[in-house]
Symmetry: C2
Subunit: 336 residues, 2 copies
């Protein structure tokens, strides 16, 4: 990307849970922004968003929105990305897309900077940001994979409602309030109540019985870690938590690693924080991790049910490292 | 046990979350009760409990409480069971103990009637009721084990706060209410907030990094299924749900089983209900299952990461099948 002292950055879906976080992170990390252009559908265009202390009016996303824009961060769903990302590229911008639209396209790199920043070298204008639950998993697994080669991953997720969006956060709050005051409440965003309940259902079901979310964890992991031999099986579950995803991850490795060795490797790994002192009740928790940037790993244990195995508990803010932060980190790599 | 037309039944811990449920289930299932004797510590003795429409005063648990009693259901913690169960046996009663005190004692059968009712033949007065999370897992796994031999289990649990007791249910309600009205709230029962959070910590930690709860799922499963070759690794997590535990279970089997074959086997299995029609949003949910008796299995999927594997989502009411119901079912077997 052509070096400049500052860039014109558009954010598509600027009023959503992830879009809001993208603007906040661009600001926090002092991304060299000349002009910021918040874009959204007709439903949200005209609202104000805040950036560097200024209110900026959200503009309607249109075919010619991207003139003069250098970088576009998309977070407005796969259909919007499919339609508008190529137009942004035609207008000369580079797109970092947070939807599932381009992730498995062989012409589009799927990037977690700590894992495969080098894949940015072969982009054709669009770079895909992986699924939230995949990002935090690969940040934790890549350093272990380098050390002892991961053969198989069995993962079960505990995903917060913010992954669905602001309406889901409101639904959890509303249902919780009503149930606590013995009022009737309805499920509208999810097919069943999410307050005081766990839903083993994220994204659509496929004929195999897996959800699309579960298959993202299989396919995206292999693409990002650039190893089609890593076998992954996933069960993804929505839990009544507002922000941050937790994951119970079991890995089988080619060579044996003790829990201490794994903790030592993870302590040195980029983007990872080890929080693992159970005797002092220290393990990563979703409410603590919300609003922070790292991928937190705890409950590291040797799995005695196989020759070479480990269990891990991995937690990260799904709106930040799982989405907005990773997208901004990709943009930072692009302008480096 | 000597046949009678009706039995004198004592319930130790009669005012607790499980004790209350034991009384309700004895009543619901028309267990042939002559006299029911609710017992508790000094903290709760003197309170009234309801049985068959009558209020019965809870008596203080003492050394000589068991004269004339045929069956004692204990649910008052391991220390109480250690001290009082042998006294009950000396007084001529048979004990069904819901604590962890005797579960791994080689002289004590550990029984889930659907799985190993035959183990009741060699009891010496005490029968142990397994841990809640283990009971629902073995009810679902035993029929699959018979069919294709399970080699390894990787399980992650989503356990409700009622497993801790009534005080934990109140803490979840209180914290939820306060957080929803932006008031400060404290964690007292758990080391961290449980409202809108998941705690990867159930029971005490061992030097290996596993919790006692996790090791119960390893050791009790092998004892109940009478197969020390079944390898189990567990991650147990407390979730902000009031009643029912859910489990994400991955199994590796000797012979291959399709998801359809597994569903067919489970549909015929005692104590199991298959709830597995994702295209109609049907899978077992904790809030739906609370107050019912079966172990519900859904999300049955072939695990393509290994030659012969399956993923399952298993849900049951932890107070009923996970505790009180299983104890009463054991008592029913004893008087058959």
């Amino acid at each position: 990307m052509k070096k400049k002292s500052a860039y014109n950055v558009a954010v598509v879906g600027a009023t959503g849970a992830v879009g809001t976080e993208m603007l906040r992170i661009l600001e926090e990390r002092k991304f060299p922004v000349d002009r910021v252009l918040p874009l959204a559908s007709a439903r949200s265009a005209g609202e104000d968003v805040s950036f560097n202390g200024q209110d900026i009016t959200v503009k309607l996303l249109e075919k010619d929105s991207f003139a003069g824009i250098d970088i576009v961060l998309f977070s407005a769903g796969a259909d919007t990305s499919k339609e508008f990302a190529p137009l942004a590229v035609d207008a000369g911008a580079i797109v970092v897309d947070n939807s599932s639209a381009w992730r498995m396209d062989s012409h589009v790199p799927l990037v977690v900077p700590e894992v495969n920043a080098h894949a940015l070298e072969w982009h054709n204008g669009i770079i895909a940001n992986p699924n939230c639950s995949t990002i935090q998993m690969v940040v934790a697994l890549q350093p272990l994979h380098k050390a002892v080669c991961i053969k198989r991953v069995v993962v079960t997720t505990f995903q917060s409602v913010s992954g669905t969006g602001k309406d889901a956060m409101e639904e959890l709050a509303d249902q919780s309030r009503k149930l606590m005051s013995l009022q009737e409440s309805k499920a509208t965003v999810y097919p069943h109540h999410i307050a005081f309940n766990c839903l083993p259902h994220i994204d659509d079901f496929l004929p195999s019985g897996y959800t699309k979310e579960e298959m993202k964890m299989v396919n995206e992991t292999q693409k990002i870690m650039e190893d089609a031999m890593i076998q992954v099986t996933a069960t993804t579950v929505r839990v009544p938590v507002f922000v941050s995803h937790a994951e119970s991850i079991n890995i089988e490795t080619k060579r044996r690693l003790t829990a201490n060795e794994a903790r030592a490797i993870l302590s040195e790994a980029p983007g990872v924080q080890v929080y693992d002192d159970p005797s002092h009740q220290i393990y990563p928790l979703q409410i603590d991790v919300a609003g922070t940037d790292a991928v937190y790993v705890g409950r590291v244990r040797e799995d005695e049910s196989i020759a070479n195995g480990l269990n891990l508990w991995v937690v990260a803010d799904n709106l930040r490292k799982g989405a907005a932060l990773n997208a901004v980190q990709i943009a930072e790599e692009l302008i480096r």
